[in-house]
């Protein structure tokens, strides 16, 4: 019998397990499907990690190793090369591995930290033929950075998400030619710093408001056709331009990987595509928590670690029966104007110490704006923000004082131009 089983040994799972341990949880197990801990960080060999959490700039593997090192001084158990096939409402975890076969493990609490997967060609209905040479940027990243294989010589990137931008630079540094980065939206989906240091530094053109209208090639990709799109994102006839290339990397979004959550009946959020969670990252099934990219897709691992520490701490408290708060009243946080999602979605006031950090994304680009917390149209708090973009997750604090002030069941978060 475990106190806590953490599903996934990437940044979220590691932080959650360590935090649970620090908060008094004793028998903890991390189940990781890969042969090593660290998750996607192992292939993210670029820098930019840790500025918030460690106050210094690290690469992905360094960031992971800091957490993995901390495990050594704990009693936390790790099962590698092991898949979790199913979890149940009463916290039974079905695992399978070469070494141990099929096992049923019982736990008191579970943290879900399975991460996310990439959207693929099938999700974006890209026309054209289906030759080799079209792959997701993350798959390419694994091939190039970990396994040491080149995936192409003349490369086009579709989508300007961070992985795509990072891979543009990686491919150039490894001797490939990157001909274009094509983005459907009028703004980039990635961090601005990555546009500068991954595209601009290497003179890779970024085509905003463009899409791919055709792909040719029988066995291997031969060319793509790019066209400008109108404000309804439809290709504008006459703007087509053919680019000869042998490789197309797709960086068209990430989706939380929630099969386990869905199968056990956890309530999901249509916007985040992750679980609906309370202020302490607890899902609709008490004792099951979620954090990291399985909950919502983050752009910064630092926020993943912070969020996961919260989940780990809450799991420890749950195990110690310090917070059996399932029956208490909650208030709902709604996405208002300009907000594409907000998290946590539900807050149990009694469980809030001083404040809750609300994470959100806007659904369009804002220069200078006001993010406001409202109740039935009445503004309870407001925050001035600059340069908000859908590609960047933002946060505002929701203070306990505000929660205590009024007896409310719902709050709306709204953004407006200042």
């Amino acid at each position: 019998m475990y106190d806590l089983i953490v599903v996934g040994g990437g940044p979220a799972g590691l932080a959650a397990a360590l935090s649970a341990y620090e908060n008094g949880c004793e028998k903890i197990l991390i189940v990781e499907r890969d042969l090593e801990l660290g998750g996607i960080l192992n292939q993210c060999i670029h820098n930019g990690f840790g500025l918030h959490y460690f106050k210094e700039e690290l690469t992905g593997p360094e960031y992971a190793e800091r957490f993995i090192d901390q495990l050594k001084n704990t009693s936390i158990e790790v099962m590698l090369d092991t898949i979790v096939l199913e979890i149940t409402e009463d916290k039974q975890v079905h695992t399978m591995s070469k070494e141990n076969g099929y096992q049923l493990l019982q736990s008191k609490a579970i943290v879900l930290a399975m991460g996310c997967r990439e959207r693929t060609r099938g999700a974006i209905q890209m026309p054209g033929s289906r030759p080799a040479g079209i792959l997701t940027a993350g798959a390419a990243q694994r091939y190039v950075n970990i396994e040491g294989y080149m995936v192409g010589k003349k490369v086009v990137i579709l989508g300007s998400g961070d992985i795509g931008l990072i891979m543009a630079r990686r491919m150039v540094l490894e001797g490939a030619e990157v001909l274009a980065c094509i983005e459907l939206m009028p703004y980039s989906g990635g961090l601005t710093r990555n546009i500068v240091q991954c595209l601009d530094d290497f003179n890779i053109p970024l085509y905003l408001s463009h899409t791919i209208t055709d792909v040719t090639g029988k066995d291997r990709l031969e060319s793509i056709t790019m066209a400008k799109v109108d404000d309804k994102r439809k290709p504008i006839p006459g703007t087509e331009q053919v680019i000869d290339c042998d490789t197309l990397l797709l960086s068209v979004g990430l989706i939380p990987e929630n099969e386990l959550s869905r199968n056990v009946g956890i309530q999901m959020d249509q916007q985040t595509r992750g679980a609906m969670v309370y202020e302490n990252m607890e899902t609709s099934i008490s004792g099951i928590f979620a954090c990291g990219n399985v909950l919502h897709v983050h752009d910064l691992v630092d926020y993943v670690s912070a969020e996961s520490s919260l989940a780990g701490k809450a799991a420890a408290e749950y195990v110690q029966q310090q917070n059996n708060i399932a029956e208490k009243d909650f208030l709902t946080i709604n996405n208002g104007q300009g907000i594409s999602y907000i998290l946590p979605q539900k807050i149990r006031k009694e469980n809030v110490d001083k404040k809750v950090d609300l994470y959100y994304r806007v659904n369009q680009v804002y220069d200078t704006c006001i993010v406001s917390i409202q109740h039935q149209g009445e503004e309870l708090a407001k925050f001035k923000r600059k340069n908000l973009a859908p590609g960047e997750m933002e946060t505002i604090p929701l203070r306990k004082k505000l929660l205590d002030k009024v007896d409310i069941k719902e709050l709306d978060i709204v953004v407006r131009e200042a």
């Binding site: 898949i83 070469k98 141990n100 076969g101 060609r121 289906r130 091939y143």
Partner: protein, 481 residues
Amino acid sequence: MYDIIIIGAGIIGTSVAYELAKYQLNICVLEAENDVSVGTTKANSAILHAGYDPKTGSLNAKLNVEGSILAKELCEKLDVPRKQIGSLVIAFSKEDLSTLEALYERGKQNGVADLQLLTAEETLEMEPHLNSEIFGALYAPTAAVVNPWEFALALGETAKINGVEFKFNQRVLDIQEENDFFSVITEKGSFKTKQVINAAGIHAEEIHRLVAPPTFKTIPCRGEYYLLDLEEGETVNHVIFQCPTKAGKGILISPTTHGNIIVGPNAENIAPELINTGADIANTSMGLEQVAKGARLSVPTINLSNSIRNFSGIRANTDREEFVIEKVIDDFYDIAGINSPGLTAAPAIARYLVDLMAEDGLVLTEKETFIDERTRVHFNDASIEEKQKIIKENPDYGRIICRCENITEGDIRQSLRQTLPASSVDGVKRRTIAGMGRCQGGFCGPRVVEIIADELNIAPTEVDLDKLGSRILTGITKEVN
């Protein structure tokens, strides 16, 4: 010297190989590509039609209804996924209702069992997501869905176990008539045979022309599809057809044997020059829009944004109304123009052809033993105890490689060792469904490449995505200088 060479290893070639494998004949199947079922068999609606569609008295009607019954037996015997979920043809108007009545009568005359005309209420009770403004439906409980490439693979493997040879990457370039045999010349060699069966699918006319002037004209017709995530599996429970009108046969929505939802196809005749260029099986925005629009007519709420793959297939239409199953010259037979319901009819087509050849004098002496069964390891369907046992015997089954579909290393290695083994990533995918799920091989692709390289004893850079030469990796890093 072979007794018979079969050109093409699609559902027709493999059905014929299976049927002829019962007799004391020396048979070889020559396939242009690197696997069975990589042409039309790979990309179609995967439906075993009940048989109310073809005109009463036609060859197609006879072969459809017979084939539907044979396919059921074969799938059970040879361990092929088949689900008899029944089909509904939906009426959207009063005129459609009279078409349905005609189909009902035709079906009865064709010998289709258990057909039923349903009211709108009855239909909506069976399929709550259908357009609420429908007028009724024709219900055919004998219609089924099948895994088409597994069907061809099962037939091919059973043929092989019973002595039929398979040679892949052997595109036929020429056929020379000698005194009393043919020399079939491929890219790799020359093979002597007494008889030839042309089952080359979309290339059947080309093969035919090697020995005789054409008797039919191929009109390749593309159909585009969406394949939806398992999450959308509840969209419909039956094969949903639209009532055929002058405008066409409409767009179908159907569960697959695996629980995904398939949506399509439109019908677009394409230039024969496009065949084998990659552009022939390309998707187009117009085609996909047509499919989407048609699908929304049947199920207005269908969630096409949860698509995991688009693909398109080529129907081998000809200028004939019916299947072409006939002798071209002595000892040379065509099976051409096998469009819908060809997948269903395939086993019956094979029997029909064998009868035809026997009438022409082919001596059919049954083999003393004919192994007429086939089983696969169904790890995912096994109980926990069974799984534990399988992993104990072979730990490779304990490691999941494809996490979307829970396909293990054991399954993948098996697909590279089976009777007709995979030789590419897509070959593994067709045999195991690894990479067919929602991540479309994003995670498992690199792992599958590694296992293929290991099993075939080649470098990962030599592993193909699909057809021969469709390399995934272009080299190794750090070799640029």
